[in-house]
Amino acid sequence: MKEVFIGRENLQRLIGRWAKDYRVYVPVTFDIMNNEATPDYELVAGEVPEKLHLEGAALAHTAKSFIFYSREVVAKYPSSDPEADVEAPPTVIVGPRACDVRGLAKFDKVYWSTVHFTEEYDDPFIIEKRKNTYIVSLDCTAAKETCFCTMVGGEPYPKEGFDLNLAPIDSGFVLTIGSEKGEKLVAGSDDLVSELQSTHGQERERSRNSVTEAVNRQNADFRVEGSFDRYDLEGSPESWAYVTQNCVGCGACNRVCPTCTCFLLVDQRAKGGYERTRNWDTCLSLGYARTGGGGNSRPELLQRLDNRLRCKFEYSRDRYGLVTCTGCGRCIDACMGKIDMREAIKHVVTEKAKA
């Protein structure tokens, strides 16, 4: 992959150039309720915000939000048009981290079979957006306390799956071009980049190693026997009951998860007839598996949390060859019951080993 150097001000200019042709989302910090600043995406409208948040760890929103909307019209009826009416303006997203980029692989497997070699149906709404979305990812320069990407086969910096990647170093960024789409984003902007010096590469390696070590260090207590892609979480009901005791089934973990792909179709009246909307759903809700007539294959909350975690580690692995927990830690951040996925996994695996 081709790598160049870009200074901070020049990056600002480059983003400004993109904003002329694309919808561009950039990372900034929001001061929410006078709490500590929350990093999240902002749409560039006019000038590029002066203070971009190009450091730290993953943002509040996952990259999935840009290709899989929380609510979206997927059909209007009655209609005789068999073609999907997809709105997918070209969009650049600056700021997804390695855990987000890895998360998109799940969407590719589930929704875009012809390119990603599964036997699933191709979904026009995801595919068009995926095609028109440019991922400008970012190395993590620090770990938040819930980060655990290195426990699930990841690193705090992307290795693949991005169009451009930015690795922050003191004087600017190492810019890696990861795809043809990435080439397109930097075409005509040779004036803003320069040749990479060996010191730049060394500086990036030092930063990457130090963040990797930090993630490893803070997760030392959560280590479990065996490889993450071989976990057997078919634990006893008692061990799952222990894990579930503080769960209220709110589904916050589903919504912030970079690999939760599930949805519910909801129909409603609309101008000229009816419309079908696709809405993010949560497998933790009681109604998720309920059938007409009241049957329910997972009536207990502990069965539903069991299903959620095993979906990440076992079911996705068995179906798509992909463990779909990317260790972003957002489910831990979002949980009002303070359930820690790492503790949950450790508890179930340890109890199972004892039995």
């Binding site: 009826y77 009655p78 149906y121 179709l265 009816y274 497998c283 007409g292 007539g293």
Partner: protein
């Protein structure tokens, strides 16, 4: 790209009442929706929503489709209020059908409970179309009361078909009922416990095929019963329908472990699901 979520307009051509809360609807889709026995479709009641159903008509009839539907939830209740001439939506078919070439030359046991006979009817009609290819067809059906029996007029006709038998039971004794009483598993009692090649026994459990559809509790006990009788897990087909929302292997609602029932099913063999313990 083709929109997978678009329902195809379909007119209700006929409504036949089967029981106080079960009707059989005949739909005529504006574009053909052809299916194989065992596959299902998503039926839209405009503005209310979708629900998955397995057609109950002959899959070899392609211009119309019949579905027998019980009133159990919002979509089915709204459908029950609709009239002949009204328009609904259909998309599909989804999932795998029964592999009928595997059934050839074999004895086929069809076990239905309640409205669970409805999806099996499309299988039965498909089998009837090629009846000489199958050694025997035994239809065993249980309903709660005589009133709850679906296809009351068709069952005697089916019994007249070549190499076909029909046995029925109701759950509780009833003044109008002269036949067998007990839950549907009592209809397995004539099957011998051990496997045998004796020509006088009703079924050769080692090779016979069983197709089962009904409430989860029934599937569970019929499964145990058939395995005890010596049926091979790979020859027992269960209708594992759940609340499929998309039917496309995406929305996640019907997931059973790594399976999407909508895509890998809705018919799964006992061999495919035995690792889940009690998945019913």
């Amino acid at each position: 790209m083709k929109n997978l979520y678009r329902p195809i307009e379909s007119v209700i051509e006929d409504i036949k009442q089967e029981t106080p809360n079960i009707n059989t609807y005949r739909f005529r889709p504006k574009e053909p929706v052809t299916f194989a026995a065992g596959q299902f479709v998503e039926l839209t009641v405009p503005g209310v929503g979708e629900a998955p159903f397995t057609p109950s008509s002959n899959p070899n009839v392609t211009d119309t489709m019949e579905i027998t539907i019980m009133e159990v939830g919002s979509v089915t209740e709204a459908l029950a209020k609709m009239k002949v001439g009204d328009t609904v939506g259909i998309r599909g078919p989804y999932g795998h059908g029964y592999n009928l070439t595997d059934f050839e030359g074999k004895e086929i046991l069809i076990i239905g409970g309640g409205v669970g006979l409805a999806p099996l009817r499309s299988l039965i009609l498909a089998l009837f179309d090629d009846i000489d290819r199958y050694k025997k067809i035994s239809i065993r059906y249980g309903a709660r009361t005589p009133e709850d029996i679906v296809y009351k007029d068709l069952l005697p006709e089916w019994e007249k078909m070549k190499n076909t038998e029909v046995q029925q039971t109701i759950d509780e004794p009833h003044p109008d009922w002269r036949g067998t009483v007990g839950v549907v598993t009592v209809l397995l009692d004539d099957l011998p416990l051990v496997t045998t090649v004796d020509v006088d026994v009703p079924f050769h459990a080692e090779t016979a095929i069983a197709c089962v559809c009904g409430p989860p509790i029934m599937l569970k006990f019929v499964n145990v019963g058939l395995l005890q009788k010596g049926f091979k897990p790979e020859n027992i087909y269960h209708s594992m329908e759940r609340n499929m929302s998309c039917g496309l292997g995406k929305c996640g609602h019907c997931m059973l472990g790594e399976y999407y029932i909508c895509k890998d099913g809705p018919v799964l063999t006992a061999a495919q699901i035995e690792k889940f313990g009690d998945p019913f």
